[in-house]
Amino acid sequence: MLLVLSFLLAAAPGGGDGAVERAAEELSLKAVPDPAPARLALLVSAPDCAPLREPFLTALSGALARRAQTVVPLSGAEEDDVEGAARARGADALLRVRVTLSAEELTVLAEWVPTRENFFLQHAVGARPAGARLLTVVAAPDDAARALLGPPARPRPGPIVLRPLAELGGRLLALAAGPTRPGAVRLFAVTTTAVLLLDAHGALLDERGLPPRVEGPRVRDVAAVAAVGEFGAGRIAYAVAGRAEGEILAAPDDRLTRVEGLPGLGATLPIAAGGAGILFGAFVPGRGVLEDLLALEKDPAARPASGRELFGAAAAPHPGRAAFAVLDCDYTLRILGPTLGPAFPDLPMVGVGFALADLEGGGEPLLIASEASSGPRDRLRVLAPGAPETVLFEAEPGYGPVVAAASADLTGDGLDDVVVATSPPEGGTRLWLVTADASGDPR
């Protein structure tokens, strides 16, 4: 069984001294609960706060060493094939750690990856399941110690704008975005006939046919899920309701390559991926909607929490209090925190294409969504989940209903952007970029 751990450390009286050390210590305890000598490759990144990387790497290396681990630090240059690098150094496992500092919280997200070939089929006795996430959230009060770590290097956002990006043939079912390798942010689209790899401008790089349909009844409301994240040797996961299987794909050279299949028909699948990890869910058998089954780990024994059905899910690339959002089939949007607890009050009548993205670098993701309504026109809006009555941006209507959205840093300015797919009346799909990047274009 996979494991997710989350806890909040109260700020120590008298200041934030040692927050980094305490977070490192807590993570080492969770990662190595029973000390036994092992060789552990360690990759630490702090994408939003570079000065934090070294102190945390030092603190965590020390904490792990105290738990009988021989630590092999990996450099950012090895990120391209970090698992290969870990294997090459003879490591038994890889611990990938991402540290972010937002508002008054130090967030540490870690992934334990056994350095084995097969991602999903690791059932060896004593082996940790792949992709287990060990989440540590540490309060870091605004004091001298925090100042020492340095403020997050936030670019100055411009006004939020909506720009046309590209047009696709066919009907789009799902959209995802994210880096398929270091420095290469890509879009991934699932249509009714194929999966498409697009560059950040929406230009087609590669495509591949869908797996065969399952024999027997069709799925009336054809639907799909897609995510770009860390899926072992692949970076893309998708599944189409009613198809025999989903797939994990890699695109190291902008060519879609199958890594392995994902079981279809009611199995738990990645349905979104972001900074807080991978969100797993499952299609209701025979339907294009998801069960009320949400988990941060792949758990074949998981059962739906209720009879509710979901249209879809989104994950924030840079989570804050909000990390995930799921849309119930009554168009109620639930905004969830990194451990899937409610982060903000539910929002009613949210449209089916939505995303969470920290467009302005404020440390808390915004909601980008349209409104579900019986009217023929659609409105795309940007809201703060904690203050949904304040509309930060509203797009001009007239470009067709929003059918999907995905978030990633497409412009390379360090701020999240959102790609929105609309279905114009004349057919096909149009992609739009929602960005606060004052400089302009996707990279």
Binding site: D330, A369, P401
Partner: protein, 473 residues
């Protein structure tokens, strides 16, 4: 392969234009029809209400798509034509099942088509072109010779004559594939399965195993009007969907195709008065008759509705050759053309003919028609297809019985260019005067989405879904 003269699917609610929504599962739809569906056996269904029920409960081998073209339904692909249109090879899609879970196989298809061809089937004319159909209809054999089961999923249908348009037959609702239940009745494979019959309604539940995907609504209630209800049942209070002749309050109605023909027939037993009577009926102002109908209607100049038929000769003068008394027979069915009958009474009285109306139950009505035991009759025919050869055959079946229908189909099957002449010949042979064609109006309550009016005048209830309450624009 394109079926001629079919209307495109008309969405009653503009699903495609909805903002930010997707169809959702759940809920129940109540559908108010011209009558409560009394018959669920596709081989025996007649009239709009029963065809709507057949669409909800049945599955056909082929379907007509939004543009009027045939597309595979239970079949994996369109039938392969062999022997110049005299034979067709069919292959079923994999994994099909009936409502009771029984596999839907090629053998079951053969049984179902044989059943449709049987003696008790008023829709047997549809498969009259299959080799051996006559013998089955006459009860001489229980095996339809022209249907060969090749494997679990393959069969071959051999016709008695070339009929390239035969696949259109396989898209008509009476050909929906069923198997008889041991306890009586039939078991279908459509999107909904019947669960309860009440005097005024039929309750259906969604069938998860439907080949086209589980319907969005969990349940359907198909309702007939209250016996003593108002003339205009209200949309919303009693039903979410109304398919009836009269207009409804609420959303503007969508008018369906004019598939309800009303024909006047004159019996040869009138002797010398027969032809003057037919001429008097033909000389009636049919536009005037059509205006009397509550439903959308238009006058019908010929059986094929092309309006190209030359006008009848001058009407005979008052009393000239006409009988002094005439008994006008009507079927005792909810959609009987009573308003038209009353108008005929008035118009013929002006010509010196006293018309007495009499009605007969459906079986007796058909028996008297085929046996010539009437003076004149008004015959409502709800077309199951707009394919001209099938239209002629259905009219011939209604007015003259299986033999005449079988002949009409054979004549019409091979030569499309002769259809107008064949229609005129049929009108003359059977002393048929086409009067008008009418349809139904479909209305939906706010919040019902995705519902389409199909080219055959039925509703695509499997595609209908409900917006959450209180989610107006």
């Amino acid at each position: 392969m394109r079926s001629r003269a079919l209307l495109a699917l008309a969405l009653l609610a503009p699903c495609a234009a909805l903002a930010g929504v997707r169809p959702r599962y759940g809920g129940e739809l109540r559908v108010l029809l011209p009558a409560a569906p009394a018959e669920l056996d596709p081989a025996r269904v007649r009239g709009a209400a029963e065809l709507v029920a057949a669409r909800a409960t049945g599955a056909t081998l082929l379907e007509v798509d939004e543009e009027g073209a045939l597309r595979p339904a239970l079949l994996e692909e369109l039938p392969a034509i062999e022997e110049g249109g005299r034979a067709f090879r069919l292959r079923l899609a994999p994994g099909l099942s009936f409502h009771d879970g029984e596999p839907l196989t090629a053998a079951r298809v053969a049984e179902s088509l044989t059943r449709l061809a049987g003696p008790s089937s008023p829709n047997a004319f549809l498969v009259a072109s299959i080799a051996g159909a006559r013998a089955v209809h006459e009860g001489r054999t229980a095996t339809l010779a022209g249907v060969e089961v090749l494997s679990e999923r393959e069969l071959r249908i051999v016709l008695a004559y070339p009929f390239p348009g035969f696949p259109a037959v396989l898209a008509t609702l009476p050909t929906a594939i069923v198997h008889p239940r041991p306890e009586g009745g039939v078991c279908g494979a459509g999107p909904f399965r019947p669960v309860e019959r009440r005097p005024r309604s039929l309750r259906l539940e969604a069938f998860d195993g439907y080949f086209g995907g589980r319907p969005f609504a969990d349940a359907l209630e198909l309702l007939g009007p209250e016996p003593h209800g108002g003339a205009r049942p209200s949309l919303g209070g009693e039903a979410e969907v109304v398919l009836r002749p009269e207009p409804q309050r609420g959303r503007p109605p969508t008018e369906g195709p004019l598939l309800g023909l009303v024909l006047a027939l004159v019996s040869p037993r009138l002797g010398p008065a027969a032809e003057p009577t037919r001429a008097a009926l033909a000389a009636l102002d049919r536009a005037d008759l059509a205006r009397l109908v509550r439903a959308p209607a238009r006058p019908l100049a010929s059986l094929l509705g092309a309006g190209s038929r030359p006008p009848d000769g001058a009407a005979p003068g008052p009393g000239e050759g006409l009988p002094a008394r005439l008994r006008l027979l009507l079927p005792d069915v909810p959609d009987a053309p009573r308003a038209a009958a009353a108008r005929l009474q008035v118009k013929l009285y002006d010509r010196g003919v006293r018309v007495a109306l009499e009605s007969a139950a459906s079986a007796e009505f058909a028996e008297r028609l085929y046996g010539g035991a009437y003076d004149a009759a008004l015959v409502p025919v709800w077309l199951v297809s707009r394919e001209p050869a099938l239209v002629l055959s259905e009219v011939a079946a209604a007015a003259g019985g299986y033999e005449r229908a079988s002949r009409a189909l054979a004549e019409a099957a091979s030569d499309g260019a002769r259809l107008p002449a064949l229609a005129a010949a049929l009108e003359s042979d059977l002393a048929v005067v086409p009067l008008y064609a009418s349809g139904l109006r479909a209305s939906v309550r706010e919040g019902v989405e995705g519902l389409g009016l199909l080219p055959d005048g039925t509703l695509d209830l499997a595609a209908a879904w409900l917006m959450p309450a209180g989610s107006g624009p």
